[in-house]
């Protein structure tokens, strides 16, 4: 299966990400109304869903932009390097937000559900790893872009 092009796996992934992105927006908007209609009171630490959700949507949007270039068969360009770097920064923000929620759950509200608390720590570490991976990827793309430019200017 092709990676790039209209029928490539990159385009399928882009459509999947778009569904997640717009679905995420709908969930974030609808969540308070759904919970109030059902009479459910959320644990206070769950309010982290909002800032985390917004940052996650921003990361998702960056990936959609990244897959757009795959469709155009032009992966090694300056824009992609910038997109990956900003996605890495957003992942760091996301990691810090999860960490804050973890600390909040452990030290302030003393949340007893160990699985939720461990989950918060896991997401914090996960996004930190994603940030490092994205940063390394952006550096690799930068190198590839420089090689490509040099090759194009070799007459």
């Amino acid at each position: 299966m092709e990676l790039s092009g209209k029928k490539g796996i990159g385009n399928i992934l882009k459509i999947f990400l778009q569904i997640c992105f717009y679905g995420g927006i709908i969930v974030l908007i609808a969540l308070p109304f759904v919970f109030s209609a059902l009479g459910i009171t959320l644990h206070s630490s769950m309010y982290v869903i909002y800032p985390n959700g917004i940052v996650m949507l921003a990361i998702g949007y960056k990936f959609i932009q990244l897959f757009n270039s795959l469709k155009n068969n032009d992966s090694f360009c300056e824009d992609n390097i910038k997109i990956q770097k900003s996605a890495a920064k957003l992942s760091i923000v996301e990691s810090v937000l999860w960490l804050l929620d973890f600390l909040y759950s452990v030290f302030l509200v003393k949340y007893e559900d160990i699985i939720v608390v461990l989950g918060l720590a896991f997401f914090s570490i996960l996004f930190f790893g994603v940030a490092i991976a994205l940063y390394i990827l952006s550096e690799l793309f930068k190198q590839a872009y420089e090689y490509k430019k040099e090759n194009e200017l070799t007459i």
């Binding site: 430019k149 040099e150 200017l153 070799t154 007459i155």
Partner: protein, 68 residues
Amino acid sequence: MIIVNLDVMMAKRKISSFELAEKVGITPANLSILKTNKGKAIRFSTLEKLCEVLNCKPGDILDYEEEV
């Protein structure tokens, strides 16, 4: 830095950019990159062809100047 004196040699041989590009087998756009010193590198095959068409030596096309 390496300076490409292609335009000087072209004027001496009274050859146009388009004609030279055609004879060397590169595009006029690439020849323009070479002439304006925007190129990063030149292939030996291109240099050989340029010397052949312009009837000159590599030193007549390329020069070295110290960067200020």
